[in-house]
């Protein structure tokens, strides 16, 4: 089966609207988590979020989109996907070819329009422009039309590991000969729905999140999108190559609908499986972009799983302290950060860390550093026990 390379990336997050802005923010330890204005939830003024400061009108202007049914999730997806496609220099023919797959992930989809959904369904508001905009698929069905795509198109929702699975699925489509190239990633926007959901679970912090810190109080929700262009070895001659997708593994924790098992069995198995599929040993991994949400449960379970696999884990950190937890976009955003580590031979710090978790004693990287980076692991764990680990390697 072919080797798979990343030939283009695009990203928009709370720490930047482009790859360069995100890179600069990671190096400078910029935190994009703050209070948001003009957001229709009472928690907007009470809790901090990793919001993108560019509003919907500005995004629509920039992207030249006037269709009223397009949601913020879709706008973020197009913003990042445009950058990825341009970065990989895909021609229009390549983009519209039947062997170009597009695999998107989202958990919120059009539900970012929480109040509108309630109105439309209860008031029989037939004039609503959003009648077919609420489901997850609406995002990538719009992108299919926008780019005139003709290959395999899919939307994946495995909660917070969704876009890690989109990357894995795209890579597998190419390896199985069902696509020549794949555009893969995810998008999610802040929504009243998810804010209230996570708040009801008591896992939102009222302060900026502190992943892997003994005193962590929970996560901050964020929004964003990121896409990668994947191509196979035979097709990348003369192209810019960011990294190779060498390992991936998807597993279920099979423990609880909304929390991880104490010893992190699912995370352990997904990391172990990713190493096996990359044919690497634990000590080959130079850096781990951890799931690291900042919740009591995740960070301790993930730490235990890392200790079980690595004994002494390699340098690790969670960039959710920069961006907030972007749910269905997180796996793709953090894959882009993993790739930046490989390209620039540097690792980026976790922010706001002061004291290790007593039970595990692990300390994340706290300052940006230049080190040799050959292999980076990126972890994504979701509700329902959906755990996926990816490994990117220096090409």
């Amino acid at each position: 089966m072919s080797r798979i390379f990343v030939t283009g990336v695009g990203i928009i997050s709370a720490i930047g609207n482009s790859l360069n802005e995100n890179h600069a923010s990671l190096l400078n330890g910029k935190c994009g988590i703050s209070y948001v204005n003009n957001f229709p939830s009472k928690y907007a003024s009470e809790l901090p979020f990793g919001a993108i400061q560019t509003g919907n009108d500005a995004l629509k202007d920039k992207l030249g989109i006037s269709n009223p049914s397009v949601t913020r999730t879709t706008l973020l997806a197009i913003h990042a996907a445009n950058d990825a496609v341009e970065d990989a220099a895909l021609t229009k023919d390549e983009l519209t070819s039947a062997d170009t797959a597009f695999i998107g992930a989202t958990t919120v989809g059009g539900m970012c329009l929480t109040d509108e959904l309630y109105r439309d369904a209860n008031e029989n508001y037939k004039e609503s422009p959003y009648l077919s905009s609420y489901d997850c698929a609406s995002v990538f069905l719009y992108l299919q039309e926008y780019y005139h795509l003709n290959g395999i198109i899919d939307t994946i929702n495995t909660a917070c590991s969704s876009s890690a699975n989109a990357i894995m699925y795209g890579a597998r489509l190419i390896k199985n000969g069902l696509a020549k190239r794949a555009i893969v990633g995810g998008a999610d926007s802040l929504s009243k729905f998810t804010i209230n959901g996570f708040n009801a679970l008591h896992i939102l912090s009222d302060e900026v999140c502190t992943p892997f810190d003994e005193g962590r109080k929970g996560l901050n929700l964020g929004e964003g999108a990121a896409f990668l262009v994947l191509e196979k070895e035979e097709d990348v001659a003369g192209k810019k190559i960011y990294a190779e997708v060498t390992g991936y593994h998807n597993t279920s924790d099979a423990f609880h609908p909304s929390s991880l098992s104490d010893n992190g069995e699912g995370p352990f198995l997904s990391m172990q499986g990713a190493l096996r599929s990359a044919q690497l040993q634990p000590n080959d991994i130079d850096f781990i972009n951890a799931h690291g949400t900042g919740t009591e449960n995740n960070d301790e379970a993930e730490s235990r799983a890392m200790i079980r696999i690595f004994n002494t884990p390699p340098p690790f950190a969670s960039t959710k302290s920069n961006t907030g937890h972007t749910l269905g976009a997180a796996g793709a955003i953090e894959s882009v950060y993993s790739i930046l580590s490989i390209v620039n031979q540097e690792i980026y710090p976790g922010l706001h860390f002061t004291k290790p978790i007593q039970a595990t004693g692990l300390e994340p990287v706290v300052v940006a550093k230049q080190i040799p980076v050959n292999h980076v692991m990126s972890n994504s764990f979701g509700f329902g026990g959906n755990c996926t680990s990816l490994i990117f390697s220096k090409a």
């Binding site: 698929a137 003709n150 495995t158 679970l201 924790d253 699912g266 329902g384």
Partner: protein, 345 residues
Amino acid sequence: MLYIHEASCISPQQTFSTIDLEHVTDPVDNKLHVAEPAYGGIPKNMLRRMGKAVRIGVGASLPLLDKISSLNGFIIGTANGGMEESILFLKQIIAYDEGVLTPGSFVQSTANATAAQLSLLTGNRGYNITHVHRGLAFENAVIDAAMMVNENKGTSYLLGGIDDISNYNYKLDYMDGWYKEEEIDGQSFYSTNSAGSIAGEGAAIFLVNDHAQNALAKVKAIKTLHSADPDLIKRAFEGFIKEQQVDLSSCIFLSGENGDSRLLPFYTSCEEILGTDITIARFKHLCGEYPTASAFALWLSCQLLNRLQMPEHMIKKHGSAKQPSSILIYNNHKNAQHSFMLIES
């Protein structure tokens, strides 16, 4: 190649435990609701928390779980799975003005809840994924399963297509013109000559792997397309038949025709290229229209290629073959998402 060894289905018809498709349940208020069984195998405390999509998905899986000793994961396609729970939570948000809310329905509202509950129920730490690409959610699950058994020889998976009718998705799709204005009875379903269909729901679950021996059926090929152009679909269908060298004389064309006059040209233009020997049959009067209805068609194919005699009410045109050796399924979702599947015995 993907081989199907077991198939289980909860649908509006008698398809679970005892199969009887001669006696057809007609729609009520343009909806075909599933006939839910008693769910003996689901612990009561789990059952109470499950939304309908999860309940029928897990319920249809149970008979298959009993028959296998090792399973390597769950691959589910669902467009609306979790919608009902989403709405319950949304109502809480509005009713309590974002106050103190109970998280149960939020946790169950994610589309991956069925695959998650199945892994919990069985303690299965294998592959676990949920495809939600609306009218191609199940097809992507099929493609995924076919890749899994190709990559990991000797492994087995539960593959499923699950969707339910919730008040919200019915209302939104109704306002968007996808369900009929006038009330339809079972008899006139295909001859209404008006826009829209009737709503349906169901869960069809399959045990799949790469063993040819004793299989019920095999999914020989699958193709998905996005288009609003009947000619393009017709040409693609022609190409699919040629590429797969389908013997049309011993084949059934299982058409996703759904009584919507806007979608009919897609189905009739595909029928035009099939010749006179083929049997043309329809199934949406049995399951209604829903995004993963192709999973019901696949379940039906497994029956037709084995023990089930084709009921007369399914037949649009009689063909020459006494015993079919293959089934061609074409499904069109909302004039935008299309799939062809070739199923062989």
